[in-house]
């Protein structure tokens, strides 16, 4: 019973045990420090796991010593080790960042609850990623979703629309999760197992209508959770009215984890012997990915609210991820995984910059950004650099994502998709450029509608934000790190799916 042998379960057990204790702590600094401590511990455990997996290959951990496929199995290979690292890493940066922002945006009495819910949300996302059991995915998904609803609703202190946004998300999210459960039920009915690896074995040769229906339910259910266009309607409001720190965390992690689940089910549970997988790639993910890229980007250009603009941009970026995996090649899957990682870095940094502006000027309307470069230069440049990364300018992670995507598109013979990727990046230039112009060139409107920021955001927010901005550049230069890992993960997934390596 050494602690190392129990390593795979630590990222789940530690934060979920810590979360209720957060509620018992006195208000003020204590809950925040406690939550931070546990995100860092979790991050450390995830790093250890990642190194272990990268060195020795997939790890299987039987929960409660019940051997799979009867017991619940935690199975970590490179693909989910990467997502684990991402979720816990973003959490360990966003949690310290949250303190000042939360002080302003969340009711003082609710702060212990807030950090508890944030810890539970992180646990749920990690659990979805780590587990090798299909039903367990649903349970963890709902653990994270339920805390997310509460977290979004806590934005009600600043804007009561947070409540309706949370309610709509609750309805959509529950329908999505229930669809997912129906899908799992259909698969269970035809195979008698819930373990993903075992499901893959049992499903071989079972191309019947029940399995097809199960697949469709899983795709639609997860599509709702990951805000796949056109099922994204809950997302803009939820991201706009949630407390800024929550938005930064969710935008970077929640939808990414749902994309990971789609990848896991497409490649590890089902395989390419099923004709409907190919059909889903060609007729669902490819067109919807492309449509999402364009429609959501266009909508983003006309938003008056920067947070809502970035939320629509998130929907568009999910389009890129779906596009990448719809090519059903190693290159495409690599591009998807790289973009999952990179988009989390840039979106978290962008939303953190917005959070800094909200702290000082009290608004996330684009008019509040006018002339910001003179008053909050550090925040302004953080926004601009991560914005450039979102567009895909060289030396940033965004460029790497686009590079891999374009490569994959041309290699897969979808040359038109390549052009569309570039074209939609130009739209990103339009909406980021619009904010940049307002920040750099406009004079602040002196009509008293918005508070003029008097000083730069506090260090406790600037440091985490710049860590992510630095990561945007670092991983944009050291492409071998993410690229290599993603390629190896993609190759392993392809092997499982029985496709051409």
């Amino acid at each position: 019973m050494s602690i190392v042998a129990q390593l795979p379960v630590l990222p789940i057990v530690m934060p979920i045990m810590a979360a209720p204790i957060t509620l018992l702590l006195p208000r003020g600094r204590a809950p925040h420090l406690w939550a931070c401590l546990f995100t860092w511990l979790t991050f450390a455990a995830c790093i250890a796991l990642f190194r272990e997996v990268a060195a020795t290959g997939p790890i299987s951990y039987a929960l409660g010593d019940w051997a799979p496929p009867i017991g619940i199995e935690y199975r970590i290979d490179l693909a989910n080790a990467l997502v684990l690292l991402l979720v816990s890493g973003i959490a360990s940066v966003v949690f310290p960042f949250a303190y000042r922002s939360v002080q302003l945006e969340v009711d003082q009495r609710q702060t212990p609850l807030f950090y508890g819910a944030l810890l539970i949300c992180m646990t749920g996302l990690l659990g979805v990623t780590i587990t090798g059991d299909a039903f367990n995915v649903f349970v963890f998904l709902e653990i994270s979703s339920l805390s997310t609803y509460a977290l979004i609703a806590m934005g009600a202190r600043r804007d009561r629309r947070a409540l309706t946004a949370a309610f709509n998300y609750l309805v959509m999210g529950t329908i999505g999760a229930t669809f997912f459960v129906i899908g799992i039920g259909l698969l269970y009915q035809s195979t008698g197992t819930l373990n993903m690896a075992d499901l893959a074995q049992q499903l071989i040769g079972q191309d019947n209508r029940m399995v097809q229906a199960g697949f469709a339910f899983i795709l639609v259910g997860m599509g709702l959770k990951l805000a796949m266009f056109p099922m994204h309607l809950w997302l803009p409001n939820a991201y706009t009215y949630a407390p800024s720190a929550v938005t930064a965390f969710l935008a970077a992690t929640a939808t990414k984890v749902a994309v990971y689940v789609i990848i896991r089910f497409f490649f590890s549970v089902f395989n390419f012997d099923f004709a409907f997988i190919g059909a889903a790639f060609t007729y669902v993910l490819l067109p919807l990915g492309l449509a999402g890229m364009f429609v959501a980007s266009f909508v983003a250009v006309f938003q008056e609210d920067v947070k809502r603009m970035l939320a629509y941009s998130s929907v568009a970026q999910i389009g890129y991820m779906l596009l990448g995996l719809s090519f059903a090649t190693v290159e495409g899957l690599t591009a998807s995984l790289v973009h999952i990682f990179n988009h989390a870095l840039m979106k978290a940094a962008l939303f953190m910059a917005v959070a800094c502006v909200v702290l000082r000027s009290g608004s996330h309307s684009i008019h509040a950004f006018a002339g910001l470069s003179k008053r909050m230069p550090v925040t302004t440049w953080a926004f601009i650099i991560s914005g450039l990364s979102l567009i895909g300018v060289p030396l940033t992670v965004g460029f790497i994502s686009k590079w891999y995507l374009l490569n994959a598109a041309f290699a897969a013979g979808h040359w038109y998709a390549g052009f569309l990727i570039v074209a939609s990046s130009l739209i990103a230039l339009a909406y980021i450029g619009r904010v940049a112009e307002v920040m750099l060139l406009k004079e602040p409107a002196d009509d008293g509608k918005f508070v003029l920021p008097k000083e730069e955001a506090p260090l406790s927010m600037l440091v985490p934000m710049w860590i992510l901005v630095a990561a945007n550049i670092y991983f944009g230069v050291r492409t071998d790190l993410t690229g290599d890992i993603a390629t190896r993960a993609a190759e392993a997934l392809m092997m499982m799916a029985g496709g051409a390596p």
């Binding site: 339920l146 509460a150 609703a153 309706t164 609750l170 229930t178 129906i182 039920g185 819930l194």
Partner: protein
């Protein structure tokens, strides 16, 4: 009439689909937030029904696994059964008599010697367990029951069984005095009924046991917990929305938001909605 049989044979799925569609329709069609939650609940319940119906096996019993206890009993031998077990066995005697002693007798008489002991062990553990199910009263009663001589061996069952069967009809329905006395007079109705069902369970255990698939039940227990939590959060949000807006009708909420955002009600649609609500 093939299609009719086709539909009829899968009636559980039709219930599931019908409920699912009703639930989804309510969620989408109703503007009242509480009604939306109600719809969501119906939708989720339909999935529970679906899961439970796929776990059903015809002729299957409740999935309570007894294998370990059977093994343990076989290892320990007949003498290891302590007070409770013997008491239960005694109760089972009474019950067999109550239910129709002949049937059980013939069963045991016809059985080969090896099977007979097995049957006895099975009775032992089975009854022990189902007696537990019947509540602590009975369990305590069984524990305090004096060890009856007759119960030591099933071989004597034909005689004693007959005796009991005869005397049982004359039992006067007085409440139990102290514990379960294995004398015809002391055997009370309650204990007799409990033991009756225990004996029926034991009867089944002699034959091959078919269980209903327990896994869907477990999954759905989890899903129910999730569903309750979702409902709780949803209703809590509805309460907060009521506090913040003064209404839980969706169109009124939208109108209020429009006023907040644009400073005026954007034309006819919102007005109509307000009139409709009035």
């Amino acid at each position: 009439m093939d299609w009719f049989d086709f539909i009829l044979a899968r009636y559980n799925y039709w219930i599931f689909i019908l409920l699912m569609m009703i639930g989804l329709y309510v969620v989408f069609a109703r503007g009242n937030l509480v009604k939306k939650i109600v719809g969501l609940n119906i939708f989720q319940t339909s999935v529970f029904i679906y899961y439970i119906s796929i776990g059903k096996i015809f002729g299957g019993t409740a999935p309570i696994y007894m294998g370990d206890e059977l093994d343990a009993a076989a290892h320990h031998g007949p003498d290891s059964g302590e007070g409770a077990g013997h008491g239960a066995e005694a109760a089972a005697h009474g019950a067999t008599a109550h239910a129709g002693a002949e049937e059980m007798q013939s069963k045991i008489d016809n059985a080969a010697p090896g099977e007979e002991t097995l049957a006895k062990e099975t009775l032992h553990s089975k009854i022990d367990n189902s007696a537990l199910d019947h509540g602590n009263d009975l369990k305590d009663a069984l524990k305090t029951a004096p060890r009856p001589e007759e119960a030591d061996s099933l071989h004597s069952l034909p005689d004693t069984g007959d005796k009991i069967a005869n005397t049982l009809s004359h039992v006067d329905k007085t409440p139990p005095k102290a514990g379960l006395q294995f004398t015809p007079d002391g055997l009370t109705d309650a204990a007799g009924d409990a033991a009756h069902s225990a004996a029926v369970a034991a009867h089944g255990a002699v034959e091959a046991i078919v269980y209903t698939n327990p896994l869907p039940h477990v999954l759905i227990l989890t899903a129910i917990v999730v569903g309750v939590a979702t409902t709780a959060v949803g209703l809590a949000l509805a309460v907060r929305i009521r506090e913040a807006y003064g209404t839980i009708e969706e169109d009124e909420l939208e109108a209020a938001d429009d006023i907040a955002e644009f400073g005026h009600q954007p034309g006819a649609p919102a007005q109509q909605a307000a009139e409709g609500a009035a």
